[in-house]
């Protein structure tokens, strides 16, 4: 055993990286996540940088070729009224990328904050928040929108993203709440409380990172859902209105013709899939970066810590009382020996 050495006089060691820095490093190790980032960057460039160089704009009609398939003149074909689908798709991509990438995470953020607050504080906070949540669940979204639409008729896209998020967070909010209720009893949360850490800091520092897996997955799913959900808002007359388009409106318009003019449906849909895919890659990377046990994020230079006692061996036996059971030594070969002398 060591004698506790006072560290005075020893050279200051290099400052250790904090959680944020470590998560970044671990994220950067994930190749698929980097592919996701590259894909998103490519999509953004395509949507914003390419249209000025195109022959057709999204509101031009080429009356010489109505409803033609993909070809040299119109790469993605044209619509019934002769609009160039490539130009339309890029225009739609501009809107949908912004709506999806802002709206998806925003939905999850609302869910996380409301759910975690309700679960962590309990009592009246919990009751009031849950009443509100249930209210949002039972009142049909279109009813509220119908009431609200005159007020927001001429709002910007930001309004519209917030509205979309406001109608999509409830289910996740409930899940986060119940996760928080189990997390709040954990000893590290107690420890933070007894240190005097502010409750909101506890939520953002301990509760939400430990619920990160579900939050990240939810955010990625929400991106796709928001892009499609935006069409229903357009129906109420706000957000994206003709002649402007979004991927959502293009897909909605192309769906009836998917059999006769499949390009009308498939090209916009393919871009939606690309957005979804890239976001999923990034989400996976983030999840692994947050989760210290994930394999993908480990440095390949250091040997992976071995789990000496197989999990299978544990499941085979009756669950043990965690209170008194000697802890399994999950010691990596690379980790130091018990009681290394400094």
């Amino acid at each position: 055993m060591t004698t506790p050495a006072s560290a005075t006089g020893t050279a200051a060691p290099p400052r250790s990286r904090s959680r944020g820095a470590l998560v970044l490093v671990r994220f950067a190790r994930n190749r698929l996540a980097l592919v996701g980032i590259a894909l998103v960057v490519a999509l953004v460039l395509l949507a914003y940088a390419v249209p000025p160089f195109l022959h057709w704009t999204y509101h031009d009609n080429d009356f010489a070729s109505l409803d033609t398939g993909p070809g040299a003149a119109h790469w993605f074909g044209t619509t019934h009224s002769g609009q160039d689908l490539f130009a339309l798709t890029l225009r739609g991509l501009q809107k949908s990328l912004v709506v999806g990438l802002v709206g998806g995470p925003l939905t999850t953020l609302i869910a996380a904050v409301v759910g975690a607050s309700a679960g962590y504080f309990g009592g009246w906070t919990d009751r009031v928040l849950m009443w509100f949540l249930d209210l949002m669940l039972v009142i049909p979204a279109f009813l509220l929108l119908a009431v609200l639409s005159p007020a927001f008729q001429h709002g910007t896209w930001l309004f519209f993203v917030i509205l979309l998020a406001a109608f999509g967070w409830m289910i996740t909010g409930r899940v986060v709440r119940s996760m928080t209720q189990t997390l709040r009893e954990r000893e590290y949360v107690l420890a933070a409380r007894y240190m005097g850490v502010h409750p909101l800091v506890v939520i953002f520092r301990h509760i939400l990172p430990n619920a990160a897996s579900i939050l990240i997955i939810d955010a990625t799913v929400q991106v796709g859902a928001i892009v499609l959900g935006e069409t229903s808002l357009s129906y109420f007359g706000f957000g994206i209105q003709a002649p402007d388009v979004s991927l959502g409106t293009l897909i909605a318009a192309g769906t009836p013709d998917a059999n006769t003019s499949p390009w009308l449906f498939f090209f916009p849909a393919a871009f939606l899939v690309l957005i979804g895919l890239s976001v999923a890659f990034i989400g996976d990377g983030l999840r692994d970066a947050f989760d210290p046990t994930a394999r993908g994020a480990k440095s390949r230079r250091r040997a992976r810590p071995a789990v000496p006692r197989s999990r299978h061996a544990r499941t085979a036996r009756t669950a043990r009382n965690p209170r008194r059971k000697p802890t399994a030594a999950v010691v990596p070969a690379a980790a130091t020996q018990e009681g290394v002398t400094p």
Partner: protein, 704 residues
């Protein structure tokens, strides 16, 4: 030959006492793991004879439980098993699950650690017992029920006719384990496999259950294969012992030989690292440095070589086989240097593992002159027992803590000890909560916490820190260690530069390396994680640390290191500890003073030497006598005070003295005297300079 089993009435042919019933030879088990195959068991041989108790001892990860699971045929399908397990003359390995099911429960009985999950919660205990009987025997429902009642009576369940239809959750932990034993012996098995049967139980209940297990063995004549990590239990129960390390037996022998003359350095180290209840003076414990090897790619040579103080070059290249210590003896060990240990001119076993010097405590002032760090006066916390879903009404009161007084002076350790449900955890939480609704007062460093405002409480939190029991749960697994240690500092407004300097200092203080700041908790072993928890508690230079069972989740060899660390830190930094624990041996080792709690009250308190040497309250006496000692000879000579029944519910405390329902002394009193116990709540009576007990008839009794 038939065995007279009058009680059970199951006529089975069974081997005579002493003949082998279970033979395990060259058993090997491996599992696919993420990092490669995990070789959990690497060649285990033993023979279990009728009527004997064989204990398999080892730390977590040694393969002892996998061995038991393999014998029972309960390994998952992806496990690879080779070798042979023979029950009598039947080979069990390779039998189909259906055929194994016919053997499990009939020829092999099982007792698991956690009886709550081993019993089905939705069926009554009786139904489950009847099921166990009727699966293997041709009985009518009425006959089976009759037998179930006999069995419950046999294992000491009071009033079995009433309790047979109770559900598992209505039973206490000890009663559930009794029911499990009843189920295990229901079909008069030849072998009972008990996997950590008492690990989840309190000591007084453990003593009861071990007694029942002995009785069950007497009645059935079965052999018991006992899997445990508790050397005290082994000393009391086992005839023979197998010590396992890294999936292999490293020493086997009779319990007497093994405890008296261990020959394998690991066994010697293990015995040396156990804190002992019967050790008089406070010396540092002897930890075994290092941690068990990874079972995925074991290094060549003896698996213990890396931690062994007497390893030579040969140990690192060649793995020793299990060999008899002297030719023909039952005592065998797997060590190249076994012959040299304790031989004339060889390696003496005492002192083989380096014992750190006992930290010098500042002699300093006598207790009364040292400043008070914590004073708890008449602390009372009652919880209402509510009924009703819409309109809640109070139907009772749980007296979790009911008038507790104690104080801690600078630089000393007070241990708060008691069984689960005695209120020690509530007491701790009441102190840590600072604010809170309760009666009585808590003063930390002379400040009454009830009178502090929010800011004052925050200031006080610097001086009052906590270390939790479970090192897995007390560290946020998603935060690197550096951030975990920085958290208290950030909360109390340290700037980044100071934090960056403090974190490596803290890591060194608890025997870790500054580089560890970038790792996540999952990359550390249990003992290391507990060190991180201690470092976090030390971050703000507190005066008082509340330790909530800080070592009870650790293996003994690791536990010793953590206890030593706590001792050193106290001596060096002048800390005071409030140590919450149920393990009396650890308390004797670390505490200066001890307070024994029972049903929300302190029944006996005082200097640890005084209380342990001359316990005056019958509950303290029973508690001390229930702790098994890791010494078979002493275990056999001890007279154990076995308490009757379970802890009464704190919602329904007995009148007068709370302990009278279980008190052995009360039962022996004349009615004229015992009347006093029925009506009068005993106050703490002073017995010595620093020793008091709340008993009308307090009298010292030596129980160790």
């Amino acid at each position: 030959m038939t065995h007279p089993t009058a009680v059970l009435g199951v006529p089975t042919s069974r081997p005579a006492a002493g003949s082998p019933v279970l033979t395990v030879s060259d058993l090997r088990v491996s599992f696919p793991g993420e990092a490669g195959r995990v070789h959990a068991v690497r060649g285990v041989d033993f023979t279990l004879h009728a009527g004997e108790t064989l204990a398999v001892v080892g730390e977590s990860g040694s393969g002892k439980s996998v061995t038991a699971t393999a014998v029972l045929g309960l390994l998952p399908d992806d496990a690879e098993v080779s070798g042979s397990v023979r029950l009598g003359d039947r080979e069990l390995l390779g039998l189909s699950d259906r055929r194994m099911s016919a053997i499990r429960g009939r020829d092999i009985g099982m007792v698991f650690q956690d009886p709550l999950s081993a019993l089905t919660p939705v069926f009554s205990v009786g139904t489950q017992l009847v099921e166990a009987l009727r699966i293997h025997q041709d009985l009518t429902a009425a006959q089976a029920r009759e037998r179930a009642l006999e069995l419950l009576d046999l294992v000491g369940i009071p009033d079995p006719r009433r309790r047979v239809d109770a559900f598992p959750h209505e039973f206490s932990g000890g009663m559930r384990q009794r029911a499990m034993i009843a189920m295990a012996i229901a079909n008069d098995p030849e072998v009972i496999i008990a996997d950590e049967p008492t690990t989840a139980l309190d000591v007084t209940i453990q003593a009861q259950v071990l007694e029942v297990l002995r009785k069950a063995q007497e009645v059935t004549g079965a052999a018991i294969l006992m899997i445990t990590h508790d050397l005290g239990v082994v000393a009391g129960m086992a005839d023979r012992v197998v010590v396992m390390y890294a999936g292999k037996p490293v020493e086997t022998g009779t319990a007497d030989e093994l405890f008296a003359t261990p020959r394998m350095p690991y066994t010697i180290g293990l015995l040396g690292s156990v804190p002992r209840l019967d050790a008089g003076d406070r010396t540092a414990l002897t930890p075994i440095e290092g941690t068990p090897p990874s079972m995925v790619d074991l290094p060549a040579g003896c698996p213990f070589a890396a931690r062994c103080p007497v390893a030579v070059d040969r140990c690192r290249t060649e793995e020793p086989a299990l060999r008899a210590v002297t030719t023909g003896a039952a005592h065998a060990t797997a060590c190249h240097r076994a012959q040299e240990i304790d031989a004339p001119g060889g390696i003496p076993s005492p002192g083989m593992f380096p014992t750190p010097a006992s930290p010098r405590r500042p002699g300093g002032l006598p207790r009364a002159e040292r400043p008070e760090v914590l004073r708890v006066t008449n602390l009372t916390k009652h919880f209402p027992l509510l009924r009703g879903s819409v309109f809640k009404h109070r139907v009772g009161t749980v007296r979790a803590v009911d008038g507790v007084d104690f104080d801690i002076r600078e630089g000393e350790t007070l241990a708060l000890v008691g069984e689960s449900g005695c209120g020690k955890t509530t007491t701790m939480l009441q102190i840590l909560d600072l604010a809170g609704r309760r009666a009585g007062s808590v003063a930390v460093l002379g400040k009454d916490v009830g009178r502090l405002d929010g800011r004052g409480r925050r200031e006080l939190r610097r001086d009052l820190q906590v270390v939790f029991q479970d090192p897995m749960a007390s560290l946020d697994s998603r935060m690197p260690v550096g951030d975990i240690l920085a958290e208290p500092l950030r909360t109390h407004g340290w700037d980044r530069a100071r934090i960056a300097g403090r974190v490596p200092e803290l890591l060194r203080l608890v025997g870790l390396l500054p580089e560890h700041a970038e790792r996540y908790p999952a990359e550390f072993s249990g003992g290391q994680r507990q060190r991180i928890g201690i470092a976090r508690a030390l971050a703000l230079d507190p005066k008082l640390i509340v330790l909530d069972e800080p070592v009870s989740a650790l293996d003994v060899s690791i536990q010793a290191g953590v206890i030593n660390l706590l001792d050193e830190l106290q001596a060096e930094l002048g800390l005071s500890y409030l140590f919450i624990a149920h393990d009396l041996s650890v308390i004797r080792h670390i505490a200066d003073r001890v307070a024994v709690m029972y049903l929300g009250r302190i029944v006996e308190a005082g200097d640890v030497e005084d209380v342990f040497a001359r316990p005056a309250h019958p509950y303290t006496q029973a508690l001390l006598s229930a702790v098994p000692l890791p010494d078979p000879r002493k275990e056999r000579q001890r007279r154990r005070i076995i308490l009757q029944g379970d802890l009464p519910s704190p919602a329904d405390t007995p009148s007068g003295c709370r302990f009278r329902t279980r008190c052995p002394k009360y039962r022996d009193l004349a009615p004229a005297e015992s009347g006093r116990c029925d009506t009068e709540d005993p106050a703490a009576g002073v017995l010595g300079e620093d020793h008091s007990a709340a008993c009308h008839f307090a009298a010292a009794l030596e129980v160790l």
